[in-house]
């Protein structure tokens, strides 16, 4: 594990060394992806519901669906995708060195990542917050009762910093156990090597869903941070950032206007809503403004359905992960999901 991470970092450094230019100049990523005929997405190596391969090696999940939607919009086929699993430590290096085109890996958008790390987070696809999971028989009902507890934490994440801040602000002590991946954290937590496991609340729910006895573990009510999870692209190639943002907006707008994977074909012919007509390419050529064709959004929606359909199929209340829409409901239903107008 360690070695892989280390070698990965060295390899990434070498890649920075050896790649002569073409990093993030305007329009380069789109041209490279079209030429390759394949989109390369950096994804979580295994977080059920968000990104996980099944027994046959087919990836599925919330982040995977966004990646496939982008591929459908750009390359024209939702299956022309290659997934590169990245750990919390290697993900941004993989992106900035050009190893992946876009990072759809439940990554928190933050000031330092936006500026100093030279990344762009085009739009948030999941509003999350950091929580704690403990065993039920521990008798803990609030994170403030965790004084002196041992807590498993993934290194290289924003949660690591939130944890230190929150415990100091509340003047309680804790003992961190640094782990490298969600799988390792799961193992350490189940073995009792830590009292609590902390990461984004969605990640906790997804991790718990994979347990043999999910009913014996609870997620504490405290949410100690804002974790806006967003796809990430490199600074500099604004057109590529636009494509990622507008693809996500297309999925959100589709839900808002009632466009689903089922009625997509029908609506693209018969819809009288001018916004839907523009979105699906029946009138105007919005795709052309960013180097794509008119039906880019139609293909993106066809790939896995609109935002609501993707949510319901991967992490929604009907799935083992069972997350409610909450903040991630449409703005019309009291949530934060809001797409800018398609015109």
């Amino acid at each position: 594990m360690t070695k892989t991470v280390f070698l990965g970092a060295v390899a990434a450094a070498a890649a920075v060394l050896l790649s002569t230019g073409a990093q993030a100049a305007e329009g380069d990523t789109l041209r490279a992806v079209k030429q390759r005929g394949e989109l390369i997405c950096g994804v979580n190596p295994g977080l059920v519901g968000f990104a996980a391969p099944d027994a046959n090696g087919n990836w599925s999940g919330f982040d995977i669906s966004l990646c496939r939607a982008i591929a459908a919009a750009v390359v024209g086929d939702a299956n022309k995708v290659r997934f590169v699993p990245t750990t919390g430590q290697t993900r941004f290096t993989a992106l900035s060195s050009g190893e992946v085109d876009v990072l759809t890996r439940n990554s928190t958008a933050s000031f330092q990542r936006d500026t100093e790390l030279a990344l762009d987070f085009p739009a948030v696809n999941y509003y999350d917050g950091q929580g704690f999971m403990v065993r039920k028989d521990l008798g803990v009902t609030s994170a403030k009762e965790l004084d002196g507890a041992t807590i498993c934490i993934q290194t290289g994440t924003t949660t690591e910093l939130n944890l230190a801040d929150w415990f100091r602000a509340n003047n309680i002590a804790y003992q961190p156990v640094n782990i490298d991946s969600n799988a390792e954290g799961e193992q350490q937590y189940l073995a009792g090597a830590c009292d609590a496991y902390t990461t984004d609340a969605s990640g906790l729910a997804a991790t718990r869903a994979a347990f043999a006895d999910p009913e014996n573990h609870i997620i504490l009510p405290e949410i100690i941070s804002k974790e806006p999870l967003a796809p990430a692209v490199r600074h500099g190639d604004n057109n590529w950032g636009d494509i990622v943002r507008q693809t996500l907006f297309a999925l959100i707008a589709a839900e808002e206007y009632g466009v689903t994977s089922a009625n997509l074909e029908e609506l693209s012919k018969s819809s009288t809503n001018p916004e839907v007509q523009r979105l699906l390419g029946a009138t105007d050529n919005l795709g052309g403004m960013m180097g794509l064709d008119a039906e880019w959004a139609k293909r993106a929606i066809a790939a896995g359905g609109n935002y609501g359909e993707v949510f319901a199929a991967t992490i929604g209340e009907q799935t083992p992960i069972g997350l409610a829409r909450g903040l991630n409901a449409l703005w019309t239903q009291g949530g934060l999901m809001y797409a800018t107008p398609f015109r």
């Binding site: 280390f6 002569t20 100091r168 961190p176 640094n178 090597a193």
Partner: protein, 417 residues
């Protein structure tokens, strides 16, 4: 008959750089040197250009920014509000600690296993063979993970010690509690602590100074006593019995000081989630030391065995013929000669162990690689700077170990007079 023109009479021509053997090697060396330098310059320049294109600058100023993360195991005071620099120092000290303890233990294990492998006892020598072959031939990372798995899955969790009908019992008179997070051991406490003594401007624990002074004084007296006994033996042919004086020399002042200061042990007690009061020896540290020791010990055992075997059998026979017994033969004849062969490869093993300690992150032990090369690198996004800094530190560390061991090697080397 060909007549060779003396070379110095020929005027220098440019073609001689290639066709004249005297100049050719110089030419090749110059060309290769220039090539290597150009390649290096191209690499550096390309790096700078590409970093600039990525919008990244090359700067070490991040070291003075607030680190913001906690480190579970630290030899010096550290809090999340300290700088990345201090976090790196914490990591470096942890690396040094694990390397030092590992080197000492690996040497002990290695020498023992190496000597025992040559034992005439069939069972002992075969057992050592099995140990050496198993540990030498499986990757270190696997050993670390296996030992960690044993520690986390087999040992009880701290809460298993709770209650009257606890699932686990503390061992050694209720003083030590092995858990799957750490081993809780008693802590030394001083009741009537003398005030701190100021040495060179820094306050040092007074009790510690008192113990150190007592030990050094006892050692000096003991040395004098030994000299006196030897002189007496040389003069009279009889060695006076001094062992009980030696024992008293060390025991009496220690017992006196312990009573004077009221030194006692505080056993760990379970409070809340974890044991408190005692010292919690982190499992990451224990597992790492154990794995490094056993792994490197296997290599050292082979080096020791080779060293001993390199001393010819005739040396032993000659020593026996002179009437030396087995132990003096080993100590005075065989080992001094074997060390010449043992020490140089031993240096490599120490270097290996130090560098292998960077696998610490597999067990969550915060060494240099985990702080500077792990969390700091990730949180600041300064891969290039952190990697270069880390490479520099490991390089200096290895060179220092080499230098010290080479000094030792010079001392044990065969003195040719």
């Amino acid at each position: 008959m060909t007549h060779l023109q003396p070379a110095e009479h020929q005027p220098f021509r440019l073609s001689m750089l290639i066709y004249d053997r005297r100049y050719r090697s110089l030419t090749i060396q110059t060309v290769v040197f220039i090539g290597v330098m150009l390649f290096a310059a191209w690499l550096v320049n390309n790096t700078i250009e590409n970093l600039a294109r990525l919008g990244k600058t090359f700067s070490f100023s991040f070291l003075w920014a607030r680190a913001g993360y906690d480190i579970p195991f630290s030899l010096i005071p550290y809090a999340a509000t300290d700088t990345h620099m201090r976090a790196a120092v914490v990591g470096l000290l942890n690396t040094l600690l694990v390397s030092f303890v590992g080197c000492v233990l690996a040497t002990i294990v290695g020498v023992l296993a190496g000597v025992l492998r040559l034992s005439n006892n069939w069972l002992v020598s075969k057992m050592m063979t099995v140990y050496v072959e198993i540990f030498r031939n499986v990757p270190l990372l696997l050993w670390i993970l296996v030992i960690l798995a044993i520690f986390t899955d087999v040992l009880p969790a701290p809460r298993d010690y709770r209650g009257d009908d606890a699932a686990a019992q503390m061992i050694l008179f209720d003083s030590v509690a092995p858990t799957n997070r750490y081993t809780a051991i008693p802590r030394l406490a001083v009741e009537h602590a003398p005030g701190p003594v100021v040495i060179a401007g820094t306050p040092v624990n007074g009790a510690l100074v008192a113990f150190a002074v007592a030990l050094v004084a006892a050692w000096l007296v003991w040395k004098w006593l030994r000299g006196w006994a030897r002189a007496r033996q040389n003069r009279t042919g009889r060695r006076p019995v001094t062992w009980w004086i030696s024992v008293l020399l060390f025991v009496v002042p220690l017992v006196a000081l312990i009573n004077l200061f009221g030194v006692h042990l505080i056993p760990p007690t379970l409070a809340g989630f974890n044991f408190t009061g005692g010292v919690n020896l982190d499992n990451g540290f224990v597992v790492l030391v154990l794995a490094l020791t056993l792994y490197t010990g296997a290599f050292i055992a082979e080096i020791v065995r080779a060293g001993i075997l390199s001393v010819s059998r005739g040396q032993t026979e000659a020593a026996f013929a002179l009437g030396l017994r087995a132990r003096p033969t080993m100590g005075l004849v065989i080992l001094p000669q074997a060390l010449r062969v043992i020490v140089p490869p031993l240096i490599s093993q120490f270097l290996n162990l130090t560098k292998n300690s960077s696998l610490a992150i597999a067990v969550g032990y915060p060494d240099l690689r985990a702080t500077l090369g792990g969390t700091t690198l990730n949180q600041t996004g300064r891969e290039m700077e952190a990697m270069m800094l880390m490479m520099g530190i490991y390089l200096v560390l290895s060179l220092l170990i080499s230098a010290v061991m080479n000094l030792y090697n010079a001392r044990v080397r065969l003195k040719e007079r």
